[in-house]
């Protein structure tokens, strides 16, 4: 069983590294990069939710990362790699500052606070025209600088190097989050999500662990936002609106919030579906809604629950 799992995981990894070599279209590569970005965002949002916190401001932290990196690189001439790191750190610092009040409220209240926080961030960016460019945003953000590894000269002007960059970033993030999820700490998180008072009564420092997970989730969102800025090279306040936050949440819910793979599967499928119906651009929200309805009614535990449900059906017949 375990061997089979490891084998299929290795094959999947090899596939992920080899597949772009067979994709000639830049557009298809772009879709794959978007998939990776959304997988990272959804997984980090799910990580925050394992402590029982539902954040609706994830896109806000993404924009902090994107704008911090974009501005530092364009105005101060820093290297995009430094900007990337500082973008993530900026998002984490903001998360740490507001973590004290925000992690002391629960469920719906936490969702409301993060929702407004995301909107406040968007408004501040829109109004800070001198630095952020206002509604027209930042244009021509520098690409990641060319690097040389083992004699290979890698230039980030094409899609392929960006794909490998984000793929490796995604794998590191997922490995980290997986370890957290499966370790003793992950179990503590799930205990907190079930009953905060009971957890505290057994000596778990509930407030601190909630804050730690929130900061880590926001750090990942900030790093991802910064990468996105350098990748597409144009960002506007509307790139990271409330809808972005809600879409990330939908990825998690549709995939299945209870399972680690849920956010990954949800983000992957829901990034591909709208692209398949690209000609029906205006109807994308409808397609989203339809998928959401179907999953909520037929698979309340998300798409990852499908194999389990099929097994149950087979056993019945």
């Amino acid at each position: 069983m375990k061997l089979g799992k490891n084998l299929s995981l290795s094959l999947l990894l090899i596939f992920l590294f080899v597949v772009p070599l067979f994709i000639k279209s830049e557009y298809h590569l772009h879709i794959l990069i978007l998939c990776a970005i959304n997988i990272i965002l959804a997984s980090s949002l799910r990580a925050i939710s394992t402590v029982g916190q539902l954040s609706l401001g994830h896109a806000g932290f993404m924009s902090i990362g994107a704008y911090t990196s974009g501005i530092l690189v364009m105005k101060l001439g820093l290297s995009p790699y430094v900007g990337l790191l500082l973008g993530g750190v900026a998002a984490m610092v903001l998360a740490a500052v507001i973590a004290y009040p925000i992690t002391r409220v629960r469920t719906v209240y936490f969702a409301m606070l993060t929702l407004f926080l995301g909107e406040v961030i968007r408004l501040v960016i829109t109004e800070g025209r001198d630095i952020t460019g206002g509604t027209s945003g930042l244009l021509n953000i520098h690409r990641l600088e060319p690097i040389s590894i083992l004699g290979f000269h890698i230039n980030f002007t094409t899609r392929l190097p960006n794909y490998y960059f984000v793929l490796i970033f995604m794998l590191v993030v997922l490995l980290f989050l997986y370890r957290v999820d499966r370790s003793y700490i992950g179990m503590t998180f799930k205990a907190i999500a079930q009953d905060e008072s009971l957890s505290a009564s057994t000596g778990i420092n509930v407030a601190r662990l909630k804050a730690v997970m929130f900061c880590i989730g926001c750090l990942i969102a900030g790093l991802t936002g910064a990468f996105y800025a350098h990748y597409v090279s144009v960002i506007t306040p509307d790139s990271f609106g409330l809808f972005t936050s809600i879409y990330i949440l939908i990825y998690v819910v549709v995939g299945g919030a209870n399972r680690f793979a849920g956010a990954i599967v949800g983000a992957f499928i829901l990034t591909l579906i709208p692209e398949m119906f690209r000609t029906l651009k205006e109807y994308q929200p409808f397609i989203f809604a339809a998928v959401l309805f179907l999953v909520v009614f037929l698979l309340p535990r998300g798409i990852v629950d499908l194999p389990v449900q099929i097994k149950i059906m087979v056993r019945k017949t």
């Binding site: 980290f176 700490i185 179990m187 205990a191 057994t202």
Partner: protein, 254 residues
Amino acid sequence: MLQTKNLTKNFKGLCAVNKLNLNIDAGEIVGIIGPNGAGKTTTFDLITGFLQPTDGNILFEGQDITGRKPHRIAKDGIIRTFQLDRIFHHFTVFQNVVAASNLVARIGFWEAVWNTSTYSRKDKNTWDHAKKILQFIGLHDKKNEIARNLSHGHQKLLGIAVALAANPKLLLLDEPLAGMNPVEVTRTLETIGQIRGRGIAVLLIEHNMKAVMSICDRMVVLNFGTEIARGSPEELKQNEEVIQAYLGTEENAA
């Protein structure tokens, strides 16, 4: 071991606990009784830091622990249970106890993430610890069941196991016998006796008079937040005020 000095809690003018002086020594079983709304659970909340007292102090092993947070007081060695079946309902029985063993586990965040050898060792120790607790409480044969599927009596026992997993010096049990059938009551009383046998002091709130009198060394009677009597079970049985305030009203209510 535990001392409260003039412990007082006001809720917007309503005095839930009034100048309470408790004293519990190591190895004792002390009962708090009183009618509903007498301030018994509020007293537990104050001792364990879930509520902050309006006035007064709480001393534990000579240290003033007033104002400390619940998780910190748990670390000091005071662990409580809650009324009803407060357990981690979606965990298995074993996971419940493992998650509650974090004070024994002492596993740091990065240790766990990097999967160091210290982590594996600590993780294994925690599992052993949890196993011992479940064997002690008699739920080891049910360790893989999801907690919410257990019978009420077993859920209450699991609640005690969860508290024990945190290695208490003083255990506060809030109505441990509520809703149990006579067989389960006898068994739980035995367990409480064995807990004392491990050197853990027990302070318990209970409405089952016969049971609580059979097990407690001393008892404190509360009414409207104020202590109206204290003493051994035999002494209290003779006390007129107690009979009127509590034993009497129970008969009337019934």
